[in-house]
């Protein structure tokens, strides 16, 4: 161990532990991305009893998101789901609250619909839910059923049980027997009456027959009337027939129109020219034809449409930020300020243009060694070019929570790395630039914290391995506006009329 310096030993320890932390974070926090990436869906349940925030949303047992919010809306539970961005659901998907494990943890299970159905847009709603088979309510129903059965059997046993019950039972049987006997007696006694009733029925039917015979004439006359009416109908039809014949022969104006050859010819010509036009278009003659028939045109059109689509999409992610930050350097007791323009074509990439006003300027040190009367003395001449403004131009690419930057840092080449935490509200950055051969590179470590929109606080160490004593702790603050903010600002400013 002797050959390792303290710095090296500490470094090894730190690196190992950071790797372990990263490993644990990856194992444990594998869904932490839901905080940054993903989209929300809303689903309404009648009851979400036992459902907690941040519990998993699963499809076929695979976690695809988390429950982000539970709220009451119109007496129903509105549950907001944060879904993994790569999961797409169709509109006929169903949601159900299920129970997992012996401890009865609730989670949301989604049952995907058919592939043919349209997709749910981010922020949309899953309309179908399956009522929860709540074990509690199930047990409640089962309990009451059991109660009913119990009381029924109780009263039954009350009625049937004991000597009294037996006696009354025997009584009932006796009564029934008696009743059947009586019924038999009645039927036998009234045998005659029943014969009379049947006789009456026979007479009634005979009378009905007589009535029918008496009205035969009336029915005949009705049939005659119907026949006459049909004769009139025949005359009408004949008349109609005559009219059509006349039309056919070209008599009357309609007849003329239809029967004139000229008209037909005209019509034919019109149709022919129409045909010609379509043929021409088909063959690609004339400008419309060319337009329609040229594949190029179609491609162009397609491209144009795609382009417009892309443009509209890009407009969503393409953002510009204007940012000003000031840092107070404790070392030189002066303030350093930055004005920057950040152009962000995509979420994970931006270009930075920056003007830096550094009170320390650029320092150059010249050292003289003089020997006078055997005494060696040293003299240092420090020249400070207070050229005030320095420029930065950087490109940054982000991978998950880590972004790398490179380019021009305060008018010198450099690189930087940023680590984003807590929804990008906290950013740690390490920059290295000014790789002068004579001096140590300029290293800067800073942490930016954004407590409110637009405003952030910063603190860190600047130039902390400086050999010229420029190392300094700093604190500061900054404001940042996106193009959107500026637009809103501009449009909302009252214009004097």
């Amino acid at each position: 161990m002797e050959k390792f310096s303290n710095e090296a030993k500490v470094g090894i320890l730190v690196v190992i532990s950071i790797i372990l932390l990263g490993y644990m974070a990856m194992r444990v926090g594998k869904f932490s991305f839901t905080k940054e990436a993903g989209y929300t869906l809303v689903v309404y349940f009648d009851s979400v009893a036992g459902l907690a925030l941040d519990v998993p949303v699963e499809i076929a047992g695979v976690e695809v998101g988390r429950v982000r919010n539970i709220a009451l809306e119109a007496n129903r539970a509105m549950v907001t789901l944060m879904m993994r961005p790569d999961i797409q659901l169709t509109k006929d998907a169903k949601a159900i609250i299920r129970t997992k494990g012996i401890l009865g943890d609730k989670y949301v299970e989604l049952i995907p619909g058919s592939d043919a159905a349209p997709l749910i847009e981010p922020g949309g709603r899953i309309t179908q839910t399956i009522p929860t088979t709540d074990i509690d309510s199930l047990l409640n129903v089962l309990g009451s059923v059991a109660q009913d059965i119990k009381s029924l059997s109780q009263s039954l046993s009350n009625v049937l049980g004991g000597e009294e019950g037996e006696r009354s039972m025997r009584q009932i049987v006796d009564n029934v027997q008696e009743m059947a006997q009586t019924l038999n007696d009645i039927v036998q006694k009234n045998n005659e009456d029943i014969s009379t009733i049947v006789g009456n029925f026979t007479i009634f039917s005979e009378r009905l027959k007589e009535i029918g015979n008496a009205n035969t004439d009336d029915i005949r006359s009705i049939v005659d009337n119907v026949r006459k009416a049909s004769e009139h109908l025949e005359t009408l039809i004949t008349g109609l027939h005559e009219i059509t014949v006349k039309v056919n022969e070209g008599k009357g104006s309609i007849g003329q129109l239809i029967n004139d050859d000229q008209t037909v010819k005209n019509l034919n010509e019109a149709l022919a020219s129409l045909k010609g036009v379509t043929e021409k278009i088909n063959k690609g003659e004339g400008s419309i034809g060319k337009l329609v028939n040229d594949d190029q045109t179609v491609d162009n059109l397609n491209d144009a449409l795609t382009g417009i689509n892309d443009y509209i999409k890009k407009q969503d992610t393409y953002r510009t930020f204007l940012d000003y930050r000031g840092e107070y350097l404790f070392g030189s007791e002066e303030a350093k300020s930055y004005l920057s323009l950040r152009i962000q074509p995509r979420e994970d990439k931006y270009y930075l243009l920056q003007v830096v006003d550094d009170p320390r300027g650029k320092k150059s040190t010249t050292e003289y060694t003089r020997t006078l009367d055997g005494v060696t003395s040293h003299e240092q001449i420090v020249e400070i070019e207070k050229d005030e403004l320095k420029f930065s131009a950087q490109i940054s690419k982000r991978y998950y929570d880590i972004a790398f930057r490179g380019g021009l840092f305060e008018s010198t080449g450099g690189v930087g790395v940023d680590y984003y935490m807590y929804n990008d509200r906290l950013t740690f950055s390490l920059e290295a630039f000014d790789f002068d051969a004579d001096t140590n590179p300029h290293l800067k470590f800073k942490a930016d914290y954004t407590p409110f929109q637009h405003i952030y606080l910063t603190a860190g160490f600047d130039d902390f391995i400086s050999e010229e004593g420029d190392e300094s702790f700093f604190i500061g603050a900054g404001i940042s506006f996106s193009d959107e903010d500026i637009k809103t600002l501009l449009f909302n400013v009252p214009i004097p009329k």
Partner: protein
């Protein structure tokens, strides 16, 4: 009567005075922290002392803490068939509580006491005065690197302790008690959140601050020769340990 009041009042007065001094020392350390030069070499040396040299003791403690936790919870959970939760319980206890606290206590015993002893010796042999006469502020030269090292290294050690402890729990749970390894890990992944780990680390940074602040404070205000140094060292360990446990409760109540 007055005698009894005085008897009760003296420790309270002493406590208030000491607290005030510690806060003042902390503020002074903060101001000297931001004033250049930042003594990277001294910080590295202290980080090596606090971190690297405490590594073995912290790892042994953590490993056995994880192992005994697995053993104990296994017997408890077996009563209702919840053996699969052993891993999660071990991991949660370690990341949230035992990792930070055990690490801090071990570092207190090793490094906190050494800080008090070292600074105490320097104080009684006028080395602290010598620093003043050479226009070097002892708070900046002696105290800031120690506090910074502890605040940075205790969380680092805690990460290792968390990990080693879980590995120890895994060894006992899976290899000795026969819990299915897949379920053991799955339950850990299921129940442990990143917040559990980060909050534990935030706590451990506070513990690092407490132990180094009390250690350096006791050393820095040592009087009375070799005997004073011994007293300062003992007090530093006792006060720091108690403060760590008390602040652990407060921080836990605030965070979880």
């Amino acid at each position: 009567m007055i005698y009894f009041l005085e008897l009760a009042g003296r420790p309270i007065k002493l406590f208030v005075e000491e607290s005030g001094k510690i806060v003042l020392l902390f503020l002074s350390a903060l101001t000297w922290l931001v004033r250049p030069p930042l003594r990277l070499r001294l910080i590295a040396k202290q980080m090596e002392f606090v971190g690297v040299q405490s590594l073995s003791v912290v790892m042994i403690t953590a490993a056995f803490a994880g192992m005994v936790l697995a053993l104990q919870t296994y017997y408890g959970f077996r009563m209702f068939g919840g053996e699969s939760l052993v891993g999660a319980t071990v991991a949660l206890s370690l990341t949230r509580e035992l990792g930070p606290v055990f690490t801090a206590l071990m570092v207190t015993g090793r490094a906190g006491s050494a800080m008090a002893a070292e600074l105490g010796t320097m104080k009684v042999t006028e080395q602290v005065d010598a620093l003043y006469t050479m226009s070097v502020n002892p708070v900046q030269y002696l105290i800031v690197p120690r506090i910074l090292a502890a605040v940075l290294m205790v969380p680092i050690l805690t990460i290792l302790a968390d990990f080693i402890g879980i590995v120890g729990g895994y060894f006992v749970g899976v290899h000795l008690l026969g819990i299915n390894s897949g379920i053991f890990m799955a339950r850990i992944v299921e129940f442990v959140e990143m917040d559990d780990i980060t909050n534990g680390l935030i706590k451990s940074a506070f513990f690092g601050l407490i132990l180094s602040l009390i250690g350096t404070f006791k050393g820095f205000y040592t009087t009375g020769g070799a005997e004073g140094v011994g007293k300062a060292t003992t007090e530093a360990v006792v006060y720091a340990s108690v403060s760590i446990l008390i602040s652990d409760y407060i921080l836990t109540a605030l965070m979880f």
